[in-house]
Symmetry: C2
Subunit: 81 residues, 2 copies
């Protein structure tokens, strides 16, 4: 079973890295970019018996390590083998 | 039009960040994790006239800035408004 976790800043939180990428794209002449958001995606292979167990573990991983609950939100998609 | 770009290391390229996350998850007792991959996801809003133009620009952005062609591969998904 695979868990695919996406972590993005919450709306309203300043994203300096995305701003820097936006400026760099503008400097390269890509002026069609009106908005940019950047996040991380983590793909985990899990040795678990059920989707329920996979979701439970993935949520606990997000809460404890993979996402900062104050500034970030996360989304979990499960991909059966 | 939105372009959603995912950038991952190519197979075989060492991913120290993913390794560190894997170790940290293990230390927190998450021992069901058998494999971990980490990448970035960039969502761009583009003021363009066609999907073709959006794909062309997104590919050029990847080749010039967003992905390291030696070590990384990227995937582009277009999301019409």
């Amino acid at each position: 079973m695979k868990a695919r976790i996406e972590v993005f800043y919450k709306a309203g939180v300043l994203d300096p890295e995305a701003k820097a990428v936006g400026r760099a794209l503008g400097a390269l002449g890509f002026d069609a970019v009106t908005e940019i958001r950047q996040g991380k995606v983590i793909e985990l292979s899990l040795a678990v018996e059920s989707e329920e167990e996979a979701r439970h573990q993935a949520e606990a991983m997000c809460e404890k390590l993979l996402a900062n609950p104050v500034m970030e939100r996360y989304r979990i998609d499960l991909i059966p083998d």
